[in-house]
Amino acid sequence: MRRYGPWIALFVVVGVVLAILLWPGGGQSAAARAHALASELKCQECQGLSVADSNAPTSVAIRADIKRRIARGQSDAQIRQVYVDRYGEQILLSPRGSGLGLIVWVLPVVAIALGAAGIWFALTRGRREPRLHASRADEVLVDRQRGAHT
């Protein structure tokens, strides 16, 4: 117990911290919501910047429009849909998790899981198949040695 004492205490501390962080606290403020939504939309006049980061006139207008819509009570999903209707799916900087966009979210997870499984099998193969059989090359080697001594 003495060996593990400090470690148990450590996990308790970290657990408490994580619980505090993950506890569903008060919702986001309107400003935070507006900023989060603006960072998900692509500026339509720039090269790859988000609406939150760019100072192009349309981006400024979109930021103001988002604020108005939040004040009117629209949900994040509704606001996103409004912009997809007007500008197409390309305005979303993060593909939606349905339809074709699902690929980008699922494929990497699948790939890493497959890789981990592959490594696991390779690691445990050593235990499961001990090399008890001599290969042909081993036999030849032994014969040669025998032949050398007779």
Partner: protein, 182 residues
């Protein structure tokens, strides 16, 4: 598995070939060109209700039944200035048509209303000028900048769209689309 390396190599090779084909198909495409489409083409025009320079209002309802040309512009962008003569010639040719309407929607964060009014007077822009200070109409129409020009049929459908500076012939074509659409 016998010869795992061969199988892995085969899979990797297949992925590389697929990726290569996709990249090859895209070589020569200009990604910017495709972003110049407007999603609303062929769909109902968004409703709008804006105050004009003269103090009245113009709305999509008030223009129903007419073929409408909507031009988004501002006082400082160079293509906007360049297209003004073409717009004026076009408007003069059709101003007396009863089924025709033209609205210039200006969204200008920098110029005040009086500055816009002065500009309109100096440039002798005879058509209805609507003010869109919040850019609501600009966003509703899915514009990405200025100038952008739309053609709306009498049934309220967007039948034509052009980004950047318009020419007289394009304006005529857009009007024909609007009139021809049933």
């Amino acid at each position: 598995m016998k010869h795992p390396a061969r199988w892995i190599a085969l899979t990797a090779g297949a992925v590389v070939v697929v990726l290569g084909v996709i990249l090859a198909l895209n070589v020569g495409n200009d990604p910017e060109l495709e972003s110049e489409q407007n999603r609303l083409l062929g769909h109902a025009a968004p409703a709008f209700n804006l105050q004009t320079l003269t103090g009245t209002h113009v709305s999509s309802a008030s223009l129903a039944g007419k073929s409408v040309i909507v031009n988004f512009w501002n006082t400082w962008c160079i293509p906007c200035r360049q297209e003004l003569p073409e717009l004026k010639k076009f408007y003069d040719a059709h101003a007396s048509d009863p089924d025709f309407a033209m609205v210039g929607i200006v969204r200008d964060a920098q110029a005040s209303t009086s500055a816009i009014a002065e500009y309109v007077k100096d440039e002798q822009m005879g058509w209805t000028i609507a003010l869109d200070p919040d850019a609501r109409a600009a966003l509703d129409f899915g514009t990405r900048g200025q100038p952008e020009t739309f053609a709306i049929s009498p049934q309220g459908e967007i039948v034509g769209f052009q980004i950047a500076r318009v020419t007289r012939s394009n304006l005529e074509k857009m009007l024909d689309y609007a009139r021809g659409a049933t």
